[in-house]
């Protein structure tokens, strides 16, 4: 793929998945949009559990990320930036552990905004798998990108709106005409709590189960396990025997959907199926702390420590070539309005 000039000083040892023979397309064939790709890395040294968290995040972002990205100590942010251009990487997720806190920065290349989240608590994927009775990991779970659901963010506050847009753009969009239901196997959930201002981050795997079928039949069809007919007189007994479903089956009526097509052996199209979520992947509780205009640079437009007041850094004002137009007051105002209108139109 892209041949880029690497200075001897900053050699980034990058081995992304795209280096394989079937290169990943930059542009989605179906929608024609650019597929967002990401790098998950850290510039500082991380303790072991945070390294595992980084690995979990990489797995979460699969398939559009570099799973075995190797970063060296002398690689600076500039090196990553230089590499990201030809490879079409759009987002950086950076973990940083300091004495006081662990923070995750989500930034958009090349000069996009940076959101800094402070992670209050986290659980690793392996811990969650150990806590479950039957952890589930089908083989092609990470072959497709996850869906994302954001709850409680609202549309009022600017920084929250920015966060929603940021997260919505990290994962590629779904085209409802051509998407296959069987590719939607994972779900990322972000829940904002207004009172504590904390965002809960969860990662689930989706499983569909037909509703209204007795448990024995379902297990039999799914797994082709030979049932135990010792105590039955007739095969019809096996089929018609009323078995109780699991505890959670009768609970949620709202969690059933009508599928449009067949998925797997059991779920048939246009019948009701229950959507079951099982948690995989890391679990985090984080708080949006800072929003910067540039990639870890530029003015700070939102700072939590200021109680949500927006502050413009002086840095923005110092630029080399400033041409001050000596116009009269009224003309200037007209000019401003004109420029604002232009801006609004173009940025829609």
């Amino acid at each position: 793929m892209g041949r880029f000039k690497n200075n001897k000083k900053g050699r980034v040892n990058v081995k992304p998945i795209a280096m394989k023979k079937n290169n990943q397309a930059n542009v989605d064939h179906v929608t024609g949009d650019k597929i967002p790709k990401s790098f998950v890395f850290s510039r500082t040294k991380l303790p072991a559990s945070v390294k595992q968290l980084q690995m979990d995040l990489r797995k979460l972002m699969l398939p559009y990320t570099a799973l075995s990205l190797k970063e060296k100590k002398r690689n600076t942010l500039r090196d990553f930036l230089n590499v990201s251009g030809p490879m079409g990487v759009t987002h950086f997720l950076m973990l940083k552990k300091t004495a006081s806190a662990l923070s995750l920065r989500v930034a958009r290349t090349p000069q996009g905004p940076t959101l800094t989240f402070k992670i209050h608590q986290y659980s690793l994927a392996s811990d969650i798998a150990q806590s479950q009775l039957r952890p589930r990991c089908p083989p092609d779970l990470f072959k497709n990108p996850p869906l994302i659901v954001l709850s409680g963010f609202g549309t009022q506050e600017l920084h929250l709106k920015l966060a929603t847009i940021m997260f919505q753009n990290i994962f590629p969009a779904i085209d409802i005409n051509t998407v296959k239901l069987s590719t939607c196997q994972r779900l990322v959930l972000l829940n904002y709590n207004k009172d504590t201002k904390l965002i809960d981050f969860r990662h689930y795997s989706i499983r569909l189960q037909p509703v209204g079928v007795s448990r024995r039949l379902r297990k039999f069809v799914e797994k082709h396990e030979v049932p135990d007919l010792r105590n039955l007189q007739d095969v019809s007994d096996f089929v018609t025997k009323a078995g109780y479903g699991s505890e959670s089956e009768g609970d949620e009526e709202g969690a059933t959907v009508t599928l449009s097509s067949d998925i797997g052996r059991v779920n048939r199209g246009s019948t009701k199926s229950a959507v079951k979520l099982q948690e995989i992947g890391p679990r985090m509780t984080m708080q949006l702390v800072k929003v910067e205009e540039g990639l870890c640079s530029g003015g700070i437009i939102f700072d939590e420590s200021e109680n949500g007041d927006e502050k413009i850094a002086k840095k923005k004002q110092n630029e080399d070539s400033e041409e001050e137009e000596g116009e009269e007051g009224s003309e200037e105002e007209e000019g401003e309005e004109g420029s604002e209108e232009e801006m609004d139109e173009d940025l829609e």
């Binding site: 929608t31 996009g112 709850s151 969009a173 829940n191 923005k316 137009e325 401003e336 420029s339 232009e342």
Partner: protein
């Protein structure tokens, strides 16, 4: 630790007794865990199986299998008494005591054996009579101990994986109802406020194509950026404009739209573009010149070749004509009479 010290300090003998009792109980439980045949030395004589004849071996084998079956049945039979290791140990100790005392008193070993046997039988009978209840009690005691109910030693459950952190089902039933109600309320509230990832619908495509037409040229963008900067400098509304612009820019950048608002970068790119154009123009000129040169050369060469050919044709014709008149005895064309030159 403080409590223990208090205990020891307070009433001497009682506490010592209780601690000793405590310790002995602990050791008793340990001993009971070990099956009797490992703990107590086996006093029966082992038969030397390899040294026996075939028939003897077969007999011995049958006997051992029968013994095994019998022993298993006895072990699991609730009617019969199961002597725990502790009981056997106690029996053994008593037996030895008796032996010692009898050796001192009498010299007859046979009597001792009979007596000890009687005693063991007597004890067996006693234990038989109490069997079922005592067994049950013992079982419950063991279960409690294992659960840690007596506050005995804590046995580390190293081989058990703690699989479930989910609370027990009993607890669940109590609190499930409360949680359900809460959950319903939360779900309703949350459902109003859900945002999902992007979903492409056909309508959006047209909109996207439409907006591409409006791409400004870089110079125009530079003008705009400079204007914006000036506007920010404005003392009155500058800050407001600056804030608004920075939020807008951040939002659209997060959404993937490119925002060009930095005049420095714009100037750089304009400069680069200019340089590129110049370079391209030069290359084109060179190319055109080169082509012309080549063309001119070729044409010249061609015309040169043509002229040569014409010359050669002419000369050939002359030579041919002259050849006819080269008869022997003659020197070429008649050049007139000698007398003609007056």
């Amino acid at each position: 630790m403080a409590k223990k010290k208090e205990k020891v300090v307070d009433s001497g003998l009682d506490t010592i007794k209780s601690t000793v009792h405590h310790h002995s109980e602990f050791f008793d439980t340990l001993v009971e865990l070990i099956p009797a045949r490992f703990y107590l030395p086996d006093e029966t004589e082992r038969k030397w199986f390899p040294g026996l004849s075939k028939a003897q071996k077969a007999r011995a084998k049958r006997k051992t299998t029968e013994n095994l079956k019998k022993a298993r049945r006895d072990r699991l039979d609730p009617e019969k008494s199961a002597l725990t290791t502790l009981d056997l140990l106690k029996q053994k100790i008593e037996k030895e005591k008796k032996k010692l005392s009898n050796v001192v008193a009498e010299d007859d070993d046979d009597d001792d054996d009979d007596e000890s046997e009687e005693e063991t039988d007597g004890r067996k009978a006693k234990s038989d009579s109490v069997t079922y209840e005592e067994l049950r009690q013992r079982l419950h005691r063991k279960i409690d101990e294992l659960k840690g109910g007596r506050g005995g030693s804590e046995r580390p459950r190293s081989h058990e994986k703690r699989k479930k952190i989910v609370p027990n089902k009993r607890k669940r039933e109590k609190t499930v109802e409360e949680e359900e109600d809460k959950a319903k309320l939360d779900v309703e509230e949350a459902a109003k406020d859900l945002t999902y990832g992007y979903v492409k619908i056909d309508d959006d495509e047209e909109h996207g194509k439409g907006s591409k037409k409006r791409r400004l040229s870089k110079s125009r963008e530079l003008e705009r950026a400079l204007k914006l900067e000036a506007a920010k400098k404005d003392p009155e509304k500058g800050e407001v404009i600056a804030k608004k612009h920075s939020w807008q820019a951040a939002t659209s950048r997060a959404a993937g739209i490119k925002v060009h608002d930095d005049p420095k970068l714009l100037k750089q790119s304009i400069h680069k573009e200019k340089k590129r154009q110049e370079k391209n123009a030069e290359k084109w000129k060179e190319r055109v010149e080169g082509q012309q040169k080549v063309r001119v050369e070729k044409q010249q060469k061609r015309s040169g070749n043509i002229a040569e050919r014409i010359e050669q044709n002419k000369q050939r014709k002359i030579a041919k004509r002259e050849k006819k008149l080269m008869r022997p005895g003659f020197e070429g064309r008649k050049e007139g009479v000698i007398n003609d030159g007056k």
